[in-house]
Every structure is written in C-alpha cells, then in structure tokens.
Symmetry: C2
Subunit: 549 residues, 2 copies
C-alpha cells in the first residue's frame, strides 16, 4: 500500500532548512531508499517516494512557515542536481503506475507554481550540476533558474532521444508556454541528449541566470532574498502544525474524522461520505489560527486529499466515486465566509488555496464522479463544488417515503464564484455555463439560499431530479452502467468533457502533454521488449518500428 503521509523528521531524500525568510529544499536521494524494490536511485534520480516527500515539504512550508517568502530548490550532492525520474523504476512499472506517478508529480509541480503565484512563497531553483529530464522539469516549475556555469553542468530533456518517451512532467509545455522558448529551439533542445550548458542555455531562455561554482551560493542567496522581499507574508507569525491524519483503513473502508469512503468491490464503486463542520466554525483570524489543522476546511481538505490519493494508487478497480455529504449547511457557509472574510490573513488564504488544489486533484482523477444529493445532505458552498466537479449529479425531488428527513437543498455561497477555480482558470460554474454567463449570475443571485430540487434543476445546478419512486432504480442503473463500460474509454471521455473552455499551462499539461505521454507509454517503441525504455542501460539498441503514426 502506498502511503502519502510523512514528515521532515522522516524524510529520506530531502533536507529542509530555513534561514529567516528563505527556506532551502536540498535533494539528497538515498540510493537504496526506493519506494519499491528493484532499482537504485542513482544520481539523485527520483521515484514516487521522493516526490511524496517533496509534496509534503511544499505543503508544510505553506502552513508551518508563514515567515518563508522564498524557497530554494537545490541538490545536496556535489556536482549532481537531479537525473530525473528513475529509469529502471519506470521500466519496471505497469502502465497505470507510470500514469499515476506522472500525474502526482505534475500536481506537485503545479502546486509549486501555485505557491509562487498566490501564496507569497516564490520558488527558485539552483542547479549545481546536471539537471536532466524530470530534474530540469522540476526547475521549470520554479520562478527563477540559476545554473552553475562550470563548463560541464547542463540542463537537458533527453527523454525523446534516449528513452523514446516524453518529458511528461510539464517539460514540453513549460518550455514553450511558460518560458516561451522559440519552438525550433525547443525542438533542438528536446532532441539533444546532452542538453545545454552555460551561455547558450541562458541565451535560449532555458535558464534565467548563470553563476560560477565559486559564487553559486552567493548568487542563490541574493536572488532568494530579493524574491523573499516581495512576499506579502507576515514576519514573526506563528505557523500551524500539520499533525498526522487520524485514519482507519479496513478492507471495505477508509475513515477519517470528516471523510469516510466505503468500498463496494463487486460494484466497483467507492462512496465518499463527506461531513461538514461539527459545530459553528470560528469567524476571526485568531480563532482560526487557534484551531489550526482542526479548523474544518483545512482538516476536511487534508482528509479528502489523502483519500483521493489513497484511492488513486491503491484502489484502481473502484472506478466510480460516489460523492455524498452530510452536515449543517449553516456551518459550511460560516466556514466559507470565515475564510473569505479573512482573505488577507495568510492562513485563511492558504486554506482556501489548499481547498482549491484538492478540488483540482479531484477534477483530474481518472474516476467517474457521481454526486448524490439526498435528504440530510449538505451541498453548500465549498461542498457544493463537489457536485459541480461530478460528471453527473442526482438530487432527490422531495423526501423519501416514510422518512421525516426534509427534502435536500443545495446552497451557493461566495465560495462558488471565484476562489476555487479549475485548472482551466474558470470556476466550475463558469465552465458549466460557458455559453451564458447570465446563468452564473442567476445562481449568484441565490447566494445563501437553500434551493430545492426543482429550483436547482431550473438553475442548471444538478443533472437529474428523480422523485422517491424513481430514485433507487435511476441511480442504481446509472452506477451499474458506468461500472460496465471500459475504464479507459471513460477516462478519456471524462478528460475531454470536464475541461471545456480556455486552456492554461496547467490544463495543457493534463490534456495535450499527459494524453500524448500516456499514448507513448503504451507504444512498443518505448515499452515493448525491444523498446528504448526497456533496453536503457543494457547497451542494446532499441529496434524501432519505423512507421510514423
């Protein structure tokens, strides 16, 4: 079972140090510390385990270190920055494991950019040796890349010439769409195994700054201080601790405080039972800080985040995720307004940003998402986003016969109209009504109102509103049908239907780049017995099928 919780005290591969406003994350991969047996993590190459620690570090810097305004990513090894994703690991991984690994690493790199853009923690990368493949892709996720100018150290994306796969962790996209490297130069760069050094790397915009080895630390410090000086983060503030998540995992269920997921292995579904706050949430910043990681939106996001990752990696056959909620809508609305009213507080901002990223993780999960909105449910504000993230939603019109639980309602809050955009840059409501912003305005006019099934349907918030007589059959048939389809076709279909509208670097990474990489990961030229990925390091030359497709 793959486990995502860790702590700096237990890191095998990263050294986290903090000096006033500047943090340093130094990569020092333990060769024998792979998350799976079968390969050595040479030359600071990484596997999922290395990246789980990086994800943890990025998260903790945001929450536990409010004073940090800049983060240096570098290597603790002499003259080696990072050789990228470990090739033996990739070669021995099943297709699904490769895809899952790349998606998670992409999400972490997008999270780094999110911190730079929104969180007042600017990332820079200090490349003190060669940065190859995923090593350079990690650098590309930062705001500023300093390369040691020693006549030897290069940045490179050697995947195409050496491995017959893509630089699939954002590399191709960020080279042309973020750094705006001219496409013909990008073509040359991405087909040149040895990469580029020094002055040419700078001239071609592959890096931002050069420094001789003797001045590298100084250059990094100067630049980090300059970036840190731009932060709007407070000085002298107290961070909050991200304490270990309490969870119980059984064969049929994973249970946290606010999130329980039950598994129906025969039906191939996982049912998320998502709970709102137990009581009225605190409203002022001091009280939010005092609650720390027990504050509902943060606690909830951490649990949901962990549950999504657990299911993605450990439960691949549970192809449909059914999203249900319970709780008091007033408490959720109060939590939403507490976050937004304290938007200038660093912690409240971080929590909203984390909620956003967790919903984005749901959006790009390759599982069918069906929301069930029943009496007793609590699809209010931030929790309403779950129904909007779903591929489809069913809302019971009225009450269940013989039940005294009141009919379900949904309630928009300000959280539905901006703070939680999808990776395409639009809110889920804007993505839902691409052709007609007046529909979003109609829903916004209902902010704070509990909308019954007919009103929700009228406003376009839900897909279907069966009544008590039809509910069970209609929902059962939908779920059973979903389970009967090809998982691959569903994944591909959902990846197309979920992200209409504009594209961003992030959405392009999950669409264009990832889809092509997944294709390549299926091709015999890469992964066949004679494919480049399989033969790498054996000294044998791959024997390619020369037909262009």
């Amino acid at each position: 079972m793959i486990e995502f919780s860790t702590h700096p005290d237990h890191y095998k591969h990263w050294q986290l140090s903090i000096d006033d406003r500047v943090a340093t994350l130094a990569l020092d991969v333990r060769e024998d510390g792979g998350i799976e047996p079968g390969y050595d993590l040479k030359l600071n190459s990484y596997d999922l385990g290395v990246d789980i620690e990086l994800y943890d570090a990025v998260q903790r810097l945001r929450f536990e270190h409010p004073d940090v305004g800049a983060v240096i990513i570098t290597s603790a090894k002499d003259r080696v920055f990072c050789a990228g994703a470990n090739i033996s690991m990739l070669a021995q991984s099943a297709h699904g494991a490769k895809v899952n690994f790349c998606k998670f690493t992409n999400e972490t790199r997008n999270g780094i950019e999110d911190a730079s853009a929104h969180s007042g923690q600017r990332y820079l990368c200090v490349i003190n040796g060669t940065a190859a493949g995923g090593g350079y892709e990690l650098a590309l996720a930062t705001d500023h890349i300093i390369l040691v100018d020693d006549g030897a150290s290069a940045v490179s994306l050697p995947e195409v010439p050496l491995l017959a796969v893509l630089p699939g962790t954002g590399g191709l996209t960020r080279v042309v769409d973020k750094r705006h490297v001219r496409r013909d130069r990008a073509d040359f760069f991405c087909t040149t195994g040895e990469g580029m050094r020094g002055k040419r790397a700078l001239e071609w915009d592959l890096v931002d700054e050069l420094a001789p080895r003797s001045r590298l630390t100084e250059a990094a410090g100067t630049r980090a201080a300059a970036l840190a000086a731009q932060t709007d983060r407070p000085t002298g503030a107290q961070g909050i601790s991200l304490t270990p998540l309490q969870r119980d995992i059984g064969d049929g269920e994973i249970a946290y405080r606010h999130v329980t997921v039950t598994f129906d292995r025969a039906g191939r579904t996982a049912t998320f039972r998502l709970r709102g706050p137990d009581g009225p949430p605190p409203q002022d910043a001091a009280a939010i800080h005092a609650e720390g990681d027990r504050f509902w939106p943060l606690a909830f996001a951490r649990e949901l985040d962990d549950a999504i990752l657990h299911l993605r990696f450990n439960e691949p056959e549970l192809g449909t995720w059914i999203l249900t909620t319970s709780g008091d809508g007033d408490h959720v609305a109060a939590a939403d307004s507490a976050l937004l009213a304290n938007g200038s507080d660093w912690l409240a901002r971080e929590i909203t940003l984390y909620f956003k990223r967790t919903l984005k993780r749901l959006d790009v999960s390759s599982r069918s998402l069906i929301a069930l909105i029943e009496p007793g449910s609590c699809f209010t504000g931030s929790l309403l986003e779950l129904a909007l993230a779903a591929d489809r939603s069913y809302m019971l019109d009225g009450a269940f016969e013989g039940s005294n639980v009141a009919p379900a309602t949904v309630r928009p809050t300000a959280m539905n109209f901006g703070p939680l955009p999808m990776c395409n840059g639009l809110t889920r409501l804007e993505s839902r009504f691409l052709n007609d912003s007046s529909k979003v305005a109609e829903i916004e006019a209902e902010t704070g109102n509990d909308l019954d099934a007919k009103a929700a349907e009228e406003l376009g918030l839900v897909t279907f509103i069966p009544d008590d007589i039809d509910w069970e059959d209609e929902v059962r048939i939908a779920i059973e049908a979903r389970a009967s389809f090809s998982p691959d076709a569903l994944t591909a279909m959902e990846a197309n239907l979920r992200f209409a509208g504009p594209e961003t670097i992030e959405s392009k990474i999950f669409a264009r780049l990832t889809a092509w990489q997944n294709w390549v990961f299926q091709r015999p030229n890469a992964v066949g017995e004679g494919g480049a990925l399989k033969l790498y390091g054996t000294g044998k030359q791959p024997d390619f099928d020369r037909k262009r497709v």
Copy 2:
C-alpha cells in the same frame, strides 16, 4: 495505394445537387464500395473512401460553385442518416491506419467549419434518421442541425458504451466547446448508447431544430435559404474547374508541376522540392479567374495538399520531411499581393483559405519537418510559412564554395502577418514569439526585404546558419539523428511543441481529443482480442481490465 483524387462523376457514396444558391450533399453509401475489402458499409456507415469524396465535394463547392451560399448535408437513404465510421473497418485497421483516418476526417470537418466561417458557404445538416457516432459528429461540424421528429430518429455518440473508444472526430470537443452542452448532460449523452430524440435533443442543445417527417424538406429548404441569403458570394459568377492533378509516381519520387518529393528510403526522409511561379503571376481578379486552377498559389496548394496526404497514408516510414524551395521571390511576392489585393474577390479569398488549410495540414502531420534554406531557394511570403512550419530550419550563411549562386535570403510579405493562421488562431510568427510581439513587429518592418542568413537569424526567423564549411555535416547529423529516434516519441513531442499559446476548438481536437483517442486505440480494452472494438457484432461481451489508469 490510397488515392485522394476523385470527381462528382465518380462518387460512389455521395450525391451532389445544386439548386440556385443551395447545394445538397446526400449520403448514399454503397455497401459494397469500401476502399478496402473485408467489411460492408451498412447503414450509411463510412470509411476513408466515403470521406475522400466528402473532402472533394467540399473543395469543389468552394471553387466550382461560387453561387452556392448554403450546403445541406443529409442522407439519401430512407430513415437512415449515418451510422458513423464503419466498425468492422476500424476493428480490422492497424493502429496507424485508424489514426490517419481520424486525422483526415477531422480535417475535412474543420474544413466545413472553415467554409461556414470564412467562405460564405454555410453548412446545415438535415438528419432524416438516426445519426450515430461519426454521423452525429459530421452534423456537429455544421452551423445548424435539423433533426426529424418522428419518435425514433436519434442523435447519439455511442462509442464509449458500445465500442470502448471515443467519439474522436471532434464529437466530445464540439459538444461542450462549440454547442456548449452542459458537461453533466454531455456526460449522460455520451454514455447513453441509444442517444436522444426529439424534444430532449433540442432542449439539451444537441440539435437546433426539429421537424416532423412530413415537413422536413420544407424546413431544410427554409433554413438553407435563410443561410444562403446571408452569403457575400456573388450571384451569376462563373466557378473554376479543379482539373485532375498531373502527377507522376515512381518508387523514389512523386512529381507534380510545382512540387516534387523524392524519397530516401534508407535514410527515411522525403525531400520536398517546392517551386514558385514560373513567371509573373496575374495581378487583377479577371486574370486570376482566367488562369483558374493553373494560378500558381492554387496549383501549388493542390499539389502540396495531395503530396502531404500521399505521404501520410502511403509512405509511413519516411519520418522526416525536408522542405526545400526554388524560384523567383518576386513572383511569389507578386502572387501573395495578388491574392491579398483581391481579397474581396471570392476566388482570391478561396485560394488564400485553401493555402491556409494546406499549411494547417502540414502542421498536424506526424512527420518531423526540417527546412533547408540554401542558395537558389525561395522562402518568400507564403513559401516562408513552410520554414516557419518546420520544427527546425537551417540557412546557409553565404554561398557554397565554388558556386556562383548568390547566398540565400528569406523575404517576409503581408502573407506572413495574418491571412495564414495556424489552428491555434495565431500566425506562425505569433506562435514563434509568444512572449514578445515586438519581434513580430520587427519582422513586419522588413516586409518585402530580402534578409540574409545573419539578418534572418538575428530576427529569429531561422534556427541555425552554418557556413559552407559546416553545412553538410551539421545538416546530415541533424537528419540522421532524427531518423534514429523513436517515431512515436517524435510525433508526441512535436504535437506539444508546435502548438504553444492559445487553444481553439480545432487545436483541442488535434491535441486533447486526438491524443486521448490514440491512447484508447492502443488499449486492450478496445483493441485487444477481447476488446470491445474487436468483439462488436459477435454477441460476445468484452472482458475489460477494470483498473482505472
């Protein structure tokens, strides 16, 4: 060998008729008329042969029928519109054939939208029976969809539930991004094999209009007349004939009047020798009309178009296309200005639009493109676009030793700054300098000037400018290296690097949708021995690998 030239007199599957301002293209597929043996084209299902005729018809309507302002696409069969791409054909096709087929059908549908948007020929679709899969996708490419409201005829995208593949000819993209069908409704629609009929199809924006069978012809005529009335095309104008292309095909070469392509099978390259006009092109509209399909830009575009398709389908192992030109830059510049000066003339406009589409076809060809700019070459204006479409360009700095041919130059014309956009909506120069429109302005300031290698490099127009001493080695090594890489990795890399910047429906179809479809086309759940595509029609149920990837 697959052959793309045809003529309405030889159509097997379409009936083209014209009544004043309205043309009708009626699909009447001959069951035993498949382009390959092994399947029957039942229920107006189509294969590449059917689509080659459609492409021909759309082209001829633009050039041969200036008076046509609206085109009705419908079926000549009673109560059957089109069952989509033939499933047995897909099931028996190799991976590359599937991908090539889908790309070509996508290009034809994009061409229909181009005619509607830019050419004054508005397309509408009259669905007189069930339109399934590719049948509905063809309808989606038109401006207006009328569905017969007979209680039986439906529109549907049954690929996911029935075949474990995608509606990959634009369907998923157009449903959410063109028609703005709400994503949850799109999800339901695309997982419902039987599709949707009548009122619900209209309410969900899947069609634009309903008509009872008794009034279908009348409704179509009314709508077509209204669309035709909006055209800016002339009345009473004379079309030009698209006469059969003259070409010679040998084992090592394909030769047209202005285009010759020579094959190096050992080196896996095809060298395009592209020639400018033989003499000064006509400048006024009447003279252009008099030249008809001999007018250089049109003749050239037709030949290049045919050559691209020939190589794509018939020469898959020639993985690198080397683009060279020759001719008199003044003549090309004169042809460019003739087209632009006569932009209000329907024919000049059509020729420019066709040149644009041909270059787009080059952009999305899965071949590495290397432009060689040597003494005697003619990379002026519209031909300069070929160098800008290339993944990389080499321009000789100076003359070859012992040669009296003057050093090469490149020359921008107005054609490089707007009329020939890529599928992302930007010109190739805008895509090249995404970060810096001032660089495009610098080049625009050189309009009409012959730029030598150093100037071209300085302006960012070319990748490398080796001199006579380095030229041969540098070019040879680049081409040999390209030929040594995995064809798949190159295809995927190029698809990412070529299309930086904004996305459009068209670019999303070739990126997100196509890449995912290609992935699905590799997955055992679709194409394995027990996959849905293989088992369709056998009565056996596919046995899916249930793991989500």
